[in-house]
């Protein structure tokens, strides 16, 4: 590894190279006082430089793996089997998603105004909190709103309906006892809402999220990306474009098909391209009314 790629300041790197220290190995054998004299810097600074270079070299000769940081595909398969997913409350949609929206991946959801993107986001923010013994994740949600479309009254409606429907999906005898603890207010208390008004704030937020998540355990991130679409020549595309689409693992497009709402998996490394119908009801996202037009594989 070359010295020029060490995470040091440009002037420090410049001095090292000028003094003839171009490789890490050359630095591994020199002492701090010698380095300080060669570079005409303080001994303290020399110690810092040597610390950085030894950290970098440790990463390279790491004895754990053949290539540091790599995971074998087998280990990843094991992880994938247990990868948690958040249900969308629509069985057809869950099916084409392989169970729901997966937690370790970034999923982009796009579509025309009024199709249900915010509704889906709110549904997921509620569903992630479903307790584990009801088939959920028992987690919390971070909702990042760049559009101002988050209406609290709606979240309350959806949370209420979710609690009501829980015993039907997972009948358990002690639901009545738990019911006191499960109020819509509890669900609302576990949704952390950030309102972002500029791209600077968005960058700041992403940087800060690491710390935020560490401080609040068991948080599942829901960054609902609200995308717009442009009317191009005879085709619709999502406004954030191709450069963005490379960053997301999965992409779902919500669209109208006649009078029904459909979701289409536009891009996914592991899921088949398919579309499924869903509906937006007073209770939130649910199965489509007509059960004849179900999942269509492309």
């Amino acid at each position: 590894m070359e010295v020029s790629s060490l995470p040091l300041s440009p002037s420090q790197r410049g001095k090292l190279i000028a003094a003839g220290y171009t490789t890490l190995s050359s630095l591994s054998s020199v002492s701090a006082p010698d380095l300080a004299r060669d570079l005409n810097i303080s001994e303290h600074e020399a110690i810092e430089i040597l610390k950085v270079s030894s950290q970098s070299s440790k990463k390279i000769d790491g004895c754990h793996a053949i290539v540091t940081g790599a995971q074998t595909a087998w280990d990843m398969l094991y992880e994938e089997e247990f990868m948690t997913r958040i249900t969308t409350s629509c069985a057809d949609l869950d099916n084409i998603l392989g169970g729901g929206i997966s937690c370790k991946e970034v999923t982009e959801i796009g579509g025309v105004p009024g199709i249900g993107k915010t509704q889906l986001g709110i549904q997921l923010a509620v569903n992630v909190q479903i307790p584990i013994d009801y088939g959920g994740l028992g987690g919390k949600a971070v909702y990042i709103d760049t559009e101002g479309s988050f209406m609290v009254e709606r979240v309350f409606q959806v949370a209420e309906a979710c609690i009501e429907d829980m015993p039907y999906n997972y009948p358990q005898k002690d639901f009545q006892a738990r019911k006191n603890k499960m109020q819509p207010e509890n669900f609302l208390a576990n949704i952390f809402y950030f309102r972002v008004c500029s791209y600077t704030e968005q960058i700041a937020l992403i940087n800060y999220l690491d710390k935020f998540v560490a401080e609040n355990k068991d948080v599942v991130l829901l960054n609902q990306v609200t995308t717009k679409f442009n009317e191009g020549s005879y085709q619709l595309t999502l406004a954030l474009g191709d450069s963005w689409s490379h960053a997301c693992t999965n992409r779902i497009i919500l669209y109208w098909n006649g009078n029904e709402r459909y979701a289409y998996i536009d891009k996914s490394p592991s899921l088949q391209s398919a579309s499924a119908a869903y509906s937006v009801t007073g209770k939130g996202i649910r199965d489509a009314a007509s059960h004849c037009k179900r999942v269509r594989i492309m």
Partner: protein, 369 residues
């Protein structure tokens, strides 16, 4: 938030001075560069850059609230949990109370359908004293088409609330609370909007109406609009929205309609394969009108009410709302403003709710009702 000064963030002096020396003064300046770019620019090591960026990010990050505290705030502090009732029973029910505070509500429809009438009524409702169900505040009415008629407004007031308007001086008091601005050009409009921000809180303004948003740009051909990367009203759209959220007042904006262009499309690439019947009857065939401001605007509004006419009747449709199903209510324009013919909305499934019809309607207002 983006313009927060780094000098006030409490960074360690050494890095703070270097940032200032390199003209990185606000959070925006610092966060617009990647960590490596900052390293090169400031001539410091990666670990210092990382910790500085982390601190700046934490301070520039918008504060969070739980959804619960958001709701409690609204319910406790705001009139009717943050809604201005329109006094149209069916519509108010569908909107869970009325026109929401802190959001932009759009009225779109062809000329003469009743958008301005609706706005005049709303202005009165906001000006009314609290014991009559109003917001007891001032209203700012930005009138870009010179459609505001104070005579008509007094008439609406006298017919809808005779008990108030017949009191001495009340008509004058109510009319006095409505401030009308008439910008003649886009720059003037921009200036008006900027000034409003300051006076909103000082003068207890409870409602802002912009009638219409499109008048000042409708001179441009669609080609110009599409060619320029930025929509001429782009700044105004986000400004109006942030104004609503910051001041927690309802903002109502009217939007004109224009005819559809032939090259506007409603299909995604993957939909082309589906050549079954459902594709043939598109709502597009029936309606040749679309909202003038386009898709960027449509995403920015929270609630969109479409006013249209067909089969000899007028309808007000809740076309976009996070809290309501797609309902259409037949209405008429009377001497007391707008009133619903029926409070039971007609459910309209599918994208039809957003279509705008304009098939000949009676232009003459019936003042005898």
């Amino acid at each position: 938030m983006a313009n927060k000064l780094i000098s006030q963030m409490g960074l360690p002096k050494s890095i703070g001075n270097i940032l200032a020396a390199r003209n990185i003064l606000t959070a925006k300046d610092a966060l617009s560069l990647t960590e490596f770019e900052l390293m090169e620019l400031l001539d410091v090591g990666l670990s210092e850059v990382t910790s500085a960026v982390a601190l700046i990010s934490e301070i520039a990050c918008p504060p969070y609230q739980t959804a619960l505290s958001l709701m409690q705030e609204r319910v406790q502090n705001e009139y009717l949990a943050g809604h201005l009732p329109t006094r149209l029973k069916g519509l108010d029910e569908a909107l869970l109370g009325g026109v929401p505070f802190g959001a932009v509500t759009e009225l779109v429809g062809p000329a003469g359908i009743g958008k301005t009438q609706f706005c005049l009524k709303l202005s009165l409702l906001a000006a009314l004293p609290a014991n009559y169900g109003g917001l007891n505040g001032r209203v700012i009415y930005i009138d870009t088409e010179s459609k505001f008629s104070s005579r008509r407004m007094i008439e609406i007031g006298a017919t809808s609330f005779p008990e108030i308007f017949h009191l001495d001086g009340m008509a004058q008091e109510m009319a006095g609370r409505i401030l009308v601005l008439r910008p003649a050009s886009l720059p003037e409009f921009t200036e008006n909007l900027e000034q409003i921000k300051l006076s909103l809180l000082q003068h207890q303004v409870k409602l802002l109406i912009i009638d219409s948003m499109t008048a000042l740009v409708s001179g441009e051909s669609d080609k110009d609009l599409k060619a320029s990367k930025q929509h001429p009203l782009g700044w105004h759209i986000s400004y109006v929205k942030s104004l609503a959220e910051f001041s927690r007042i309802p903002i109502v904006v009217t939007n004109q309609v224009r005819s559809q262009n032939s090259n506007e499309s409603f299909h995604y690439p993957f939909q082309v394969w589906n050549n079954d019947e459902s594709m043939k009857d598109l709502p597009r065939m029936e309606s040749h009108l679309v909202a003038a401001l386009g898709i960027h605007w449509a995403h920015a509004v929270t609630i969109r009410l479409v006013l249209e006419a067909h089969s000899g009747k007028r309808f007000i449709k809740v076309a976009k709302s996070p809290v309501s199903p797609s309902l259409a209510f037949p209405f008429v324009v009377t001497s007391s403003g707008i009133s619903l013919v029926s409070d039971d909305g007609i459910e309209i499934p599918g994208p039809e709710i957003s279509a705008i019809h304009c098939q000949g309607y009676d232009d003459i207002f019936d003042f005898n009702r």
